[in-house]
């Protein structure tokens, strides 16, 4: 038996063998001349799509083409928060579908992605925020999603070190989703890649899509840095680069690309055992299994493809952290980085066909697409296989902007940098 299946047993056996039997987690595939489906983008969404296409929809001859190394995009640079605490009916069932898939992920793909349901607590600091969270929590409950409202005393019991007594905006309570939490980001990419690979999907790294070939209004394949690859269907899952790739097919999207930064502190003995978001500033935090405080805040706020941010946001985020947790004053920042957000005009995603035949789009995830990964993959696979939206993704249509059926959780309107 090869060391393909992961388990404690295989681990022990390999230990005895000096760890010489491990196989590559996924093959280094080279492009074939054509596939039934080519997914552009080896991020979480692209890889999950390929996996579900093969696993649930029985498709074969699938390729994922990735311009760099898989997981080098946002799936590998996000703050790992998963939750389904949404308000609007277009969103809740979809994110809850994702949450359920996370809950069974390890067994499904035989990879420990460390899905950790340690809870997510959104703090509120005034009555209006509280009422908005009650509305949201109730919406979740009506959709069968877990939600609880904590008052200030309950929050204090849970996280006694937050700033309760000397705060500019005192904590009044929080909305807790206990099933929310974190998932080890890289493992999601690697786990889906490995699982898809085992079902025969070609994962082609260092292969940049440079053009989309369209003949008679119909997509026939993609031009890449490694040559033309023919495709029955092409699915775009390029996150922050969606507009650039869609432009290859002459499409303009309701999307702007923005930078979001993330931060990690030096490793510390664990003291935060859930995800906390500050309601009076731009700050959210969790503590990784290595001990680093992983945190973030607002987007930098201007169009960018640079994958790095600027100082004002660094200051804004860190002062939010200090306002919330004055005990971290002497803790040090270890590293900060950025990712490219595909900020849509209403802050919600798009999983839909495009006006170009056989070209499909999965985009507009803003800063919240990591939590969506399994459902996004499933629904995109469904759309690619069946040519109709999955039942939990019926709201994510491209024409919703024209119709006015926008899904605007924050009520910020058509300005991507405000979502």
């Amino acid at each position: 038996m090869s060391s393909k299946h992961y388990s404690l047993f295989s681990l022990l056996r390999e230990t005895l063998r000096g760890n010489t039997g491990w196989k590559p987690a996924w093959r280094k595939a080279s492009p074939q001349s054509s596939y039934d489906v080519v997914i552009v983008g080896g991020g979480g969404h692209g890889l999950a799509t390929a996996y579900y296409l093969a696993k649930r929809y029985g498709m074969r001859r699938i390729a994922v083409v990735e311009k760099g190394w898989i997981g080098g995009g946002n799936v590998g640079r996000n703050t790992t928060i998963v939750r389904s605490n949404y308000l609007l009916p277009g969103n809740v069932p979809f994110y809850e579908c994702a949450m359920k898939l996370w809950e069974g992920l390890e067994q499904d793909i035989n990879y420990n992605a460390m899905v950790s349901q340690r809870g997510i607590l959104n703090l509120f600091h005034n009555d209006a925020q509280r009422n908005a969270y009650i509305r949201r929590g109730n919406s979740m409950r009506l959709h069968g999603v877990d939600a609880d409202i904590l008052d200030a005393a309950a929050v204090r019991e849970k996280l006694p070190f937050l700033n309760f007594d000397n705060a500019r905006f005192p904590i009044q309570g929080g909305l807790l989703q206990q099933r929310g939490g974190t998932v080890r980001h890289d493992a999601v990419a690697w786990g889906y890649a490995r699982a898809a690979d085992q079902l025969g999907v070609d994962i082609i790294e260092n292969c940049e899509v440079t053009g989309i070939r369209i003949e008679n209004g119909r997509t026939t394949g993609v031009e890449t840095s490694r040559g033309f690859i023919g495709a029955g269907k092409v699915g775009l899952a390029c996150a922050g680069n969606s507009s650039r790739v869609a432009a290859m097919a002459g499409l303009r999207l309701p999307i702007e690309s923005h930078v979001l930064q993330a931060f990690v502190s030096e490793g510390l003995k664990p003291f935060i055992d859930c995800v906390v978001t500050f309601g009076a500033g731009h700050f959210y935090v969790s503590q990784s299994d290595k001990g680093g405080l992983v945190f973030g805040g607002d987007i930098d706020g201007y169009n960018s493809y640079a994958q790095r941010g600027n100082l004002p946001v660094v200051e804004d985020v860190i002062s939010g952290g200090m306002a919330l947790m004055p005990r971290i004053g002497r803790v040090r920042l270890l590293r900060h980085w950025g990712g490219l957000m595909d900020m849509s005009m209403d802050g919600s995603p798009i999983i839909d066909k495009t006006p170009v035949e056989q070209l499909y789009l999965n985009a507009g995830w803003c800063y919240g697409g990591f939590k969506a990964t399994p459902a996004s993959g499933l629904c995109f696979a469904h759309l690619l296989a069946r040519d109709e939206p999955h039942e939990v993704a019926t709201a994510f249509r491209l024409d919703r902007f024209g119709r006015g059926a926008v899904i605007d959780e924050k009520g910020m309107g058509a300005q991507p940098n405000l979502h």
Binding site: E14, N131, G137, N138, P326, R330, R403
Partner: protein, 1004 residues
């Protein structure tokens, strides 16, 4: 100082950086030791023969001091105690002060005996990425068993438990030329730039300038090189155009020539002096920058290369020359380049025995031969160290000769040099990856930027002489780019002997055929990543350097791979049959060194996290014992409790009743006020608001609603016309800023042809609402007799400029948010306080009382006025029951998109009032509305409650909400679901106007 003799450190010789006349005492793990001023914690521990300083992250291996700088991966400690506890502090850059207490971390029960050292035994299982392959069964065990186990072992030091008691500052500085680093390159650069007259800032992270000049036993102008450094430093300090910042680390290069810098103002003191910041975060904006950050030495990878006593060769020299401490008495030197051989000389001169010189280069080095002869050391040309022995530190080295035969040598120090890596972090922060330079076997900066110059060791330049020249040249060029030209050239000292640096890289440093027999060969010390892990990762397909990093955690520790990255990727290249350039290197990100979070936040903490805006009556309200609440940045009185009132609701009910039955007043200054003037002012308003404005009469006000361009409601308020070309607009408190921005956008970008001017007058006018049936009488007491405010002369929605109190200029508006007869009276802000006091006086006979935002809120709900919760950015004019306000006769912002089908769908939830069937059943805002009798499930969800209150006027709970087809459902009983609290309440759908629907009161 009276210290026991057994504590006195060995005599320091030649130390150019410590003052041996000033002894200090500090403790490490509770034991007291002596140090001198100028010592780092590391140099002091070494001087006291303390070698074991920490435990590694994963295997809890004993670790000692590896380096003498910020790259230190091993000697991390908790400094200070209590609220000032500072985890993960590198002993190598910690200045000792009298009374410093340091403690080792990540060990239990003690540093010498660490129970988790057993992890080392499990290391064959704990291979790269092992956790991805297991802990999956049973599923529920992850959160309950496995993860807690992992988290129990996670982390290094402990964050303080209490709020940081120190304070921090931010500051800005600007210059022509920023020079980073004060080694020979940086000093020469700063000098040559400064001599042109350019404004120069020199930042050095160390507390002393000089860089390697202090570490090396070399001369400049026939004097010890460090003396030249001190002279130049003194000259720079004296120049008026130079700012010299020591203890200041440039941690990041950001866009637009902006650099982030942390100055450690008081870390070398027991605690900051009163009011002194602990650290200061600088934003430095430089037109040009010279990066002269030097280089970091690489360790060599060999089995058990992590024992305390294995130290970087260059750091050994630093301890000898700068601190006067020889880190060992019997030394083995292991090098693959000439630079490492200097350590032989320095150690020998410091009185140490040189046991062996292992020169890994295949071609024997003549320098090594002569040094061996001179020192009597065994020489192993082409040799390697195949193992080390010792329990809590090195006791012997096993050295293999060229032929592979092993020999064992007792020693207490192994000085290693695998070559030098330019410290090029700042050159990569914009994403430029460095390129590999074969000659020095290291990555060098590749960046080409018009505002960045690179000089010295960081550029890969090796000799002191070249470094000096390159520095001076860089400084000159940088200054010239700012328009400063110098006639002369900077005078540079003459360097002594030319150093040589012939390197032959020894990447794996281990016998590839049997790498792990002897023990683990560490690459990343802190994260315990070994050569074997790299090999396994490659085997599992993690061939990209970035994959390798993430799969093995190599380079992700507090040192960010400063000593490990290049060794690792070179080894990966070997394992995957690629060249080093093909393999590439991982991206370096800011901060160049870990920076204190408190410093970045600066003074913006606790109560000063954000500024506070105070309305003009704040002081008065404080005297009235008001309870305050934040409304954006504003502090507003929420209610005014009186003696005997036991619950806030009692107070609020009284305030509401006072307004409804007598008269109350409330400071509404916080509403945005914009003065709009110009021939096109009316046309401008027509564009902004959905409703018509041209025909509004002078002296009248009108309610207006603004949409966003996407057709959803943006803001509302009343706007009054003071003259044909003059209006005053009010906005909500929350949208005062955004509205101003919106107006500027409309004026400058959309309709620049409109001749209109506007300016905020929010702060200019103290505006107080006076409401209640007695309000007219109260206003009459104030108003000058010339003005007639009878209902006939000054009806509902009238507006006038008047005088009060004997000539005081004021504005009076007859507006009502409460639904009562009401006015808003505005006076210049400085009179706001006096106006409140006067209202109390003149209103007393009429039963006046102040009311706060809570009563205001209750009354606006009673009257059905939308506010923030209704104008939440998701609602349309139609939803708010204002669909008919949308003018069909004119163009306005949002008109086109408001007509989209989904926005005009009659099934959209629309504003309604709700009244519980049982008056005392609370209606909770945020509850959802479902048809009576339907299951609590989203498919039956028809709306929600946006605002609710106990209405003392109706003697019932009341609420505003949005309900599908609401207006046609008045009278229906609906179920109000609040599953969060498990309650379902029945309520009747009613008109949103609960009080005085005919508007009699406000027209009274």
């Amino acid at each position: 100082m009276n210290t026991p003799s057994k504590l006195s450190p060995p005599k320091r010789t030649r130390a150019n950086g410590v003052d041996t006349s000033k002894a200090l005492t500090f403790t490490f793990d509770g034991r007291a030791y002596t140090a001198y001023e100028g010592d780092t914690l590391a140099s002091a521990l070494l001087a006291n023969n303390v070698r074991l300083t920490g435990r590694s992250f994963k295997y809890h291996r004993p670790r000692g001091i590896l380096s003498a700088g910020p790259e230190e991966p091993n000697a991390l400690m908790e400094l200070r105690t209590g609220a000032r506890r500072e985890p993960n502090s590198r002993a190598t850059v910690t200045e000792v002060f009298h009374g410093l207490s340091a403690a080792s971390q990540n060990r239990w029960p003690s540093l010498a005996f660490d129970a988790l050292g057993v992890n080392g035994l499990l290391s064959p299982v704990f291979t790269a990425g092992f956790y991805y392959k297991t802990f999956m069964w049973p599923a529920c065990f992850w959160e309950k068993v496995y993860e807690p186990m992992i988290r129990n072992a996670a982390g290094l030091g402990r964050a303080a438990k209490e709020a940081d008691p120190d304070h921090y500052e931010q500051a800005n500085a600007f210059c022509d030329v920023l020079v980073v680093g004060s080694g020979p390159a940086g000093l020469a650069a700063a000098l040559s730039a400064a001599e042109t007259g350019a404004r120069v800032i020199l930042c050095e992270q160390d507390y002393l300038t000089g860089g390697r000049l202090r570490a090396e036993n070399i001369t400049l102008d026939n004097k010890p090189a460090w003396q030249w450094g001190e002279e130049v430093t003194a000259r720079l300090r004296a120049m008026p155009n130079v700012r010299l910042m020591t203890r200041s680390c440039v941690f990041g290069r950001y866009d637009g020539g902006t650099f982030g810098v942390i100055e450690r103002v008081a870390d070398h003191l027991p605690q900051p002096e009163e009011n002194q910041p602990r650290q200061r975060y600088w934003r430095i904006v430089a037109k040009q920058c010279v990066v002269a950050t030097g280089a970091i030495e690489r360790p060599v990878v060999f089995p058990n290369n992590d024992r305390p006593g294995v130290m970087l060769a260059g750091s050994v020299r630093t301890y000898i020359n700068r601190y006067g401490v020889a880190p060992g008495r019997k030394a083995v030197i292991y090098t693959n380049n000439d630079d490492g051989l200097r350590t032989v000389t320095d150690l020998y001169q410091a009185g140490a025995d040189i046991v062996a010189i292992v020169d890994a280069r295949p071609v024997p080095s003549p320098l090594a031969q002569s040094l061996a002869q001179q020192t009597g050391a065994f020489l192993f040309p082409g040799g390697r160290i195949s193992n080390t022995l010792g329990r809590l530190g090195v006791a012997a080295a096993v050295i293999g000769n060229k032929a592979g035969k092993d020999q064992r040598f007792a020693c207490d120090l192994i000085a290693v040099s695998g070559g030098w890596n330019p410290d090029l972090a700042l050159t990569t922060h914009h994403g430029t990856r460095p390129v590999y330079n074969e000659q020095i076997a290291a990555f060098v900066p590749s960046i080409k930027a018009h505002d960045l110059h690179i000089a010295g060791m960081v550029a890969g330049t090796l000799t002191t002489r070249d470094t000096l020249h390159e520095g001076a040249e860089a400084g000159r060029k940088a200054a010239a780019a700012c328009g400063f030209d110098s006639a002369g050239t900077t005078e540079l000292p003459s360097a002594g002997v030319d150093e040589t640096y012939a390197i032959h890289p020894t990447w794996s440093g281990i016998d590839q055929t049997a790498p792990q027999k002897a023990g683990k060969a560490f690459i990343d010390f802190q994260n315990d990543v070994t050569a074997k892990d790299v090999k396994q990762a490659a085997q599992e397909g993690f061939r990209s350097v970035e994959h390798l990093k993430r799969y093995t955690t190599l380079g992700m520790a507090t040192d960010q791979g400063k000593t490990s990255n290049v060794n690792a990727l070179a080894m990966l290249a070997e394992f995957t049959d690629r060249t080093i350039p093909e393999t590439g290197t991982t991206l370096i990100r800011p901060p160049a060194q870990p920076v204190t979070l408190g410093a970045i936040a600066g003074p913006n903490r606790e109560k000063h996290f954000k500024p506070t805006r105070l309305p003009p009556t704040h002081q008065w309200a404080t005297e009235q014992n008001a309870v305050f609440t934040s409304n954006g940045l504003w502090q507003r009185a929420q209610w005014y409790p009186r003696a005997g009132e036991t619950h806030w609701l009692e107070t609020v009910n009284r305030e509401v009743n006072t307004v409804r039955n007598a008269v109350g007043f409330c400071d509404v200054t916080t509403l945005g006020k914009i003065d709009i003037q110009g021939p096109d002012a009316a046309s401008f308003l027509e564009k902004l608001y959905v409703n018509a404005w041209q025909k509004l009469a002078v002296g009248r006000a009108r309610y207006g609603l603004m949409l966003r361009e996407d057709g959803f409601a943006f803001d509302d308020g009343t706007t009054a016309r003071l003259s044909p070309t003059h209006y005053v607009m009010t906005t909500t408190t929350a949208n005062a800023g955004p509205a101003m921005q919106h107006l500027e956008f409309c004026h400058q970008v959309l309709w620049p042809e409109l001749d209109v001017q506007f300016i905020s007058v929010t702060d200019e006018w103290a505006q107080i609402a006076v409401a209640g049936p007695n309000s007219r009488e109260v206003i009459r007491q104030l108003i000058d007799p010339a003005f007639d405010i009878s209902n006939e002369a000054f009806g509902y929605m009238a507006a006038a400029e008047i005088t009060i109190c004997g000539g005081q200029q004021a504005r009076l508006f007859r507006l009502s948010f409460s639904g009562e007869l009401a006015y808003e009276l505005a006076v210049p802000a400085r009179f706001g306080d006096a106006l409140a006091r006067r209202l109390m006086e003149v209103g007393a006979p009429y039963g006046i009382a102040p009311y706060g935002t809570e009563a205001l809120g209750v009354m606006r709900i009673e009257k059905g006025h939308p506010a923030g919760p209704e104008l939440n950015g998701q609602t349309t004019a139609h939803d708010l029951g204002m669909g008919r306000m949308l003018s069909s006769k004119k163009e306005f912002i949002g008109k086109a998109m408001a007509a989209r089908p989904a926005l005009t769908d009659p099934r959209r939830p629309t504003l309604v009032g709700l009244r519980p069937v049982v008056a005392t059943d609370a209606l909770v805002a945020g509850s959802h509305l479902l048809p009576k009798g339907s299951p609590a499930s989203a498919e039956y969800d028809q709306g929600w409650i946006s605002s609710s209150a106990w209405s003392p006027t109706c003697n019932s709970w009341i609420a505003l909400g949005f309900l599908s087809e609401g207006p046609s459902r008045h009278g229906e009983i609906i179920a109000v679901h609040n599953p969060l609290s498990g309650t379902v309440t029945e309520a009747e759908i009613v008109s949103p106007v609960f009080v005085d629907p005919e508007g009699k009161r406000l027209h009274a």
